[in-house]
Symmetry: D2
Subunit: 304 residues, 4 copies
């Protein structure tokens, strides 16, 4: 466990980076967030969470939700039912590209690009009567925070700008890789993205990745092998088109969201969440990445 | 350190897979290798090497040489001189694709696809008077085996089938990302690929990746941070278009070659080399991958 | 004007080709058409129509409707309002590809690929209160046949298999190049495709292309310059990915549909329609193309 | 035949466009040409040539040579020997793209993009002992001007910047679609491009396209059918990625070069050449296109 002072120090070292990136502005509800936010929380397997900066302030988790939805799918389906419909390889393309989905005949490269996450959302829709409710329950249980809720304004705003994701879903449907009504799945999907959680919530919720599939509350959510596999997928595909650079600099499996959050884990050791809304060109938090890089260097810890 | 019996057992368990893949046949010199070969060697930081199967028989290391050439470049250049000319991201395309090189204006995605390795070979050519000699010296020193040599027939055969690699090199030259004479660099590059080493040689030579940059002979080849970074690159881009699946199943940074070899490391713990010439559709050894997967499961060890 | 015997002869010469192509089967309503149909009709500016084979039997005109919808748009909009939203260049890609639409940021290459025709349908929707009614009126007037109607079963069947076209429309919407409700426009678009017309109907309706924009009934539908320009677009982009081969072999501006029809014109001279449902790999009628090639050779006429 | 005054007038009308385009600058030898040049020549089947502006000044014909080399190949090979190795379809990509050549496994889309012209140059090399000499002889005979020669400086300069074309040639070689030594063929190819001819020379040389394959001197160079087919190819693929727009505005089969020349024909009527070195974004002469558009409108003549 890092010292609390270390976290404070990492936050302060990253503060000069504010202004270097750009807050996501493709939907109004996200664009109005202040770019000055900066926070980190670390949770250890014994359940202790420490943090610094704005680590208790909830933010829009956006694509970080793709980790939860894949995890939920793993609890509902046999693995081949999932991996026949979505791959495990890095995409080498922008996260919302249709080119690859067309060239590879409707099979998205991995579950963390939009196309892949939409397939996972389609799977959840196919087996849950109330997927939005079930997802909320999951993240509340995992983080131990019953206050977590959806930001309805963000969900609605995303839905109003959903043409690109609708195009991806219909393209997969044209290849036979989308079962449910596109509109219904999109509404669920945008709700998952619109979850509001703090760094503390997320670092606690992600502990199962660092602790062989076991949640903080002691529940075996997925098997140890699955937890290991999920970390492998995050390491190769968790940061859009910046996964290689992130592995190179930070050396932890991680997942970012355009809300500026990034979660990362050191298996056996800790789960971490950083937040700062300004993004780089790949869509990853500038200051957040820097804090994680500093943490990795300070602790001399990485998976490599 | 795994028990020697475990290695024997893993080799025997993988033997039924022989016949499931296809020996590389794009050059005659490789096509004539027997597909029945099967071997593994493991080396620990204390210098002990154990093995099973055909682990002492030299084979053509092919793309595994890209790890050595990048390492050699790291000893000759400042990092920005390298990373301004080649990226760190997974490619999402076949290893010898020109599409991405054209779309990304001459900058290859990473140093382990052919385009990237050619840039590295160009860098070596630019700063070494006798790069082939220097490379041979390097791998002899790293493995402690002065018998290692180039397979001249393989090198010549590759050169005679070099049109695709020539196209890649000229394309990069057209974007200003290739300095030396294409023909000269290709000849060096094919020599590196034509190194003949055994599993034992390779597992010993790669120890610096598992031991913070320090070779078996105690030489600090690259810094601990660089060794960590190299492992990160291998984890995201080391297995062509199968890096995600390999991370998912094996969970170690690794690099494969079309000669059927795969090297992998568990940092701090061991370096491994497996060999079996039959390849899957991504160009990775079928039985070799299975042996590594078995090793990872048996030891309960992976980086994730 | 060709002799009637010539048309008979061309039909008989093409008959041995039956069996060489494949009836479109992507929707059940089209798949059930007999592949044995074969017909040609030729109309001259003086209003005489002659034909051979099944030239009086109505068939599904499919993409030939794209000529009518573009023509209708030309009567409703200023040219820049159209050409700012759709290009004039051959696509070099399959007719229903999303790749190019994504790479060129939502602007389809030309009005005869699906993406372009959907933009045109969106334009019609934007300015007509009853576009389907207006289109029907147009083709009835142009051909002088008040019996022409929509095949409701085909339109419904297309709608039920509309995922690919929905994906294209949403993709353009995501780039701001689609104004109306996607579902509404798709329903109109599929109706246009589901028009049932005979070779005689089509050769008569297309006379305005051969006669400087003037219909058989003497109405100046579009200007002479526009008619010339429309022919130019048909010559470069009218036959999907087979436009070059068609120009090479037949040498007339033309437009094909997956129902097996092809219209073609020799400006100043004649408008032609052939029909035979079996298609080649590019989606163009095998026997239909052969009949047109024979006609061009027999008359020694082509635009080149 | 247009009146000489008309040509003068068209040149003056186009003069205000000077400054709107950009002289090709990828090789120094071309970049130093004055952008102010402007000329047109028209030749009729009876052998009369009239002109205006700088129509007697020789310039670098560049890609216009691709028409001559294809024609020469047609006199040396059976058609399938040519069309098995190069297609007849518009490319939909930039003229020097490798993407399409890779995706379509080494078969260029048409003989007028660089890849296709290199295949044609490879064919010429395969059957002629002195292809450069033979080409020079051909254009001298066709134009009736024995003074025409190669600009050795341009040829050398192109060769020194040949990396992109070398990449294309090697890529085709890797697919088995390039027989001769790449370097030798490139040298020939750059010579063809470096021919210096005036508008008068080119309009006279291209008469065979307008006159059923017969040259001004009365020689049947290619058959009437081949002349018609060549015109069809020019109409669909002669102006790089601007063929559709050119057909739309000018309505004649044509071929442009980055030296600023454009040739065009009205079959049966006339062959034309315009020249003005400033190019648009597609690489076609800005003022040259405008002059041809004016000519087409003034004469009320086009093939459509």
């Amino acid at each position: 466990m890092p010292e609390p002072q270390l976290l404070e120090q990492l936050v302060e070292q990253a503060r000069p980076l504010l202004g270097r990136g750009k807050v996501a502005d493709y939907i109004p509800a996200l664009a109005k967030i202040s770019g000055n936010k900066l926070g980190i929380a670390v949770t250890t397997p014994d359940g202790v969470t420490i943090g610094a900066g704005d680590y208790l302030e909830p933010f829009s988790i956006q694509s970080i939700s793709k980790v939860f939805s894949l995890t939920l799918a793993l609890t509902l389906y046999e693995e081949p039912e999932i991996w026949d419909r979505v791959g495990k390889e890095p995409s080498g393309h922008s996260f919302n590209s249709l080119v690859q989905v067309e060239l590879e005949r409707g099979i998205p490269r991995n579950p963390f690009i939009n196309a892949g996450a939409l397939v996972i959302a389609d799977l959840l829709q196919g087996r849950l009567s109330a997927p939005k409710h079930r997802m909320l329950e999951l993240v509340r249980n995992l983080s131990g925070n019953p206050q977590i809720c959806y930001d309805k304004e963000v969900a609605r705003s995303e839905y109003e700008h959903s043409a690109r994701n609708a195009a991806i879903a219909y393209l997969m449907k044209s290849f036979g890789n989308f079962d449910n009504d596109v509109d219904t799945v999109l509404r669920s999907y945008f709700h998952y993205c619109a979850l509001r959680m703090s760094c503390a919530d997320l670092s606690r919720a992600m502990m199962y990745l660092a602790n062989k599939g076991q949640s903080l509350a002691g529940k075996q959510l997925i098997s140890p092998v699955q937890a290991r596999q999920l970390n492998a997928l995050l390491a190769t595909s968790g940061l859009y088109d910046g996964a290689g650079e992130f592995a190179y600099k930070v050396g932890m499996p991680g997942k970012s969201g355009v809300g500026g959050g990034i979660i990362a884990v050191i298996p056996g050791d800790m789960s971490v969440c950083v937040w700062s809304p300004e993004l780089d060109l790949q869509g990853n938090s500038v200051a957040g990445t820097a804090i994680l890089e500093g943490l990795s260097q300070s602790l001399g810890r990485s998976i490599f």
